[in-house]
Amino acid sequence: MIVTHEVMIDCTSMTGEECSDLCLTALGHGTDFNLKASSLTDTLHGSVSIIHNDSPLPHIFSIEVYETDEAPTAVTSHGITTGRQSTLARPAVMPTEQDLINKLETLA
């Protein structure tokens, strides 16, 4: 499921990564709904991509929540590992599109 939504956020006083983390927290990022890998082999339930537009333009969010499980695609060749090492998994509780939009709106 991919949800695209726009929200007015002023992030001029923080870095893009800090703004992204703020948005992840609002979306309920955690062990049961992991949206950002803290290690290369994490199990993830989705991801968040953001265009951090400057005011007066809104931030544009693209939130992907995985509906099916996908194993890692990493391969090791000549001692070098490439490909995706994370596991993609459907969350135990699948949020609705409106759930995610409501959570993003708390940032406005």
Partner: protein, 144 residues
């Protein structure tokens, strides 16, 4: 008696197709570990039976040392740099990296083609600068 010398009537007078996406309105971030579109980086052009040259110029970083930043392109949904792509490893904390991933296609069929730039991270948050001070560009040119 005057004579008229005619040239070749078959000159291709159509200029090469091109397109570009220049972003200056705000940075772009992702936490995706699978390839997703660099939001908005999609160009559709109509070409002749010619190859295209495509590329991008960005300043990027990942807030996790050792985490990969991977870039790739698709032409009509076909990946151009393998299933992974072009890899930039974040070597030091907060270090900015200038990258210019680029490539050339084989001869395409005449008609409409959509070229997209994609990216992903190995972990952490990937950030791509796209402001009035540090712009970002993605472009496609037909070669003829």
């Amino acid at each position: 008696m005057s004579s008229i010398i005619r040239g070749d009537d078959n000159w291709d007078t159509t200029p090469p197709a091109y397109g570009r996406v220049v972003r200056t309105a705000g940075n772009v971030s992702t936490t995706s570990t699978s390839l997703v579109e660099v939001t908005g980086s999609s160009i559709t052009i109509t070409t002749g039976a010619n190859p295209i040259y495509f590329g991008a110029c960005h300043t990027i970083r990942n807030n996790t040392v050792g985490a990969d930043m991977v870039f790739n392109f698709t032409i009509d949904n076909a990946l151009q740099f393998g299933t992974t792509g072009l890899i930039q490893d974040q070597a030091a904390s907060s270090q900015w990296n200038m990258i210019s991933p680029q490539g050339q296609s084989a001869v395409l069929s005449a008609g409409s083609h959509t070229i997209k730039e994609k990216w992903r991270v190995g972990g952490g948050t990937g950030l791509l600068l796209a402001s009035t001070a540090e712009g970002s560009m993605f472009f496609v040119n037909e070669i003829k």
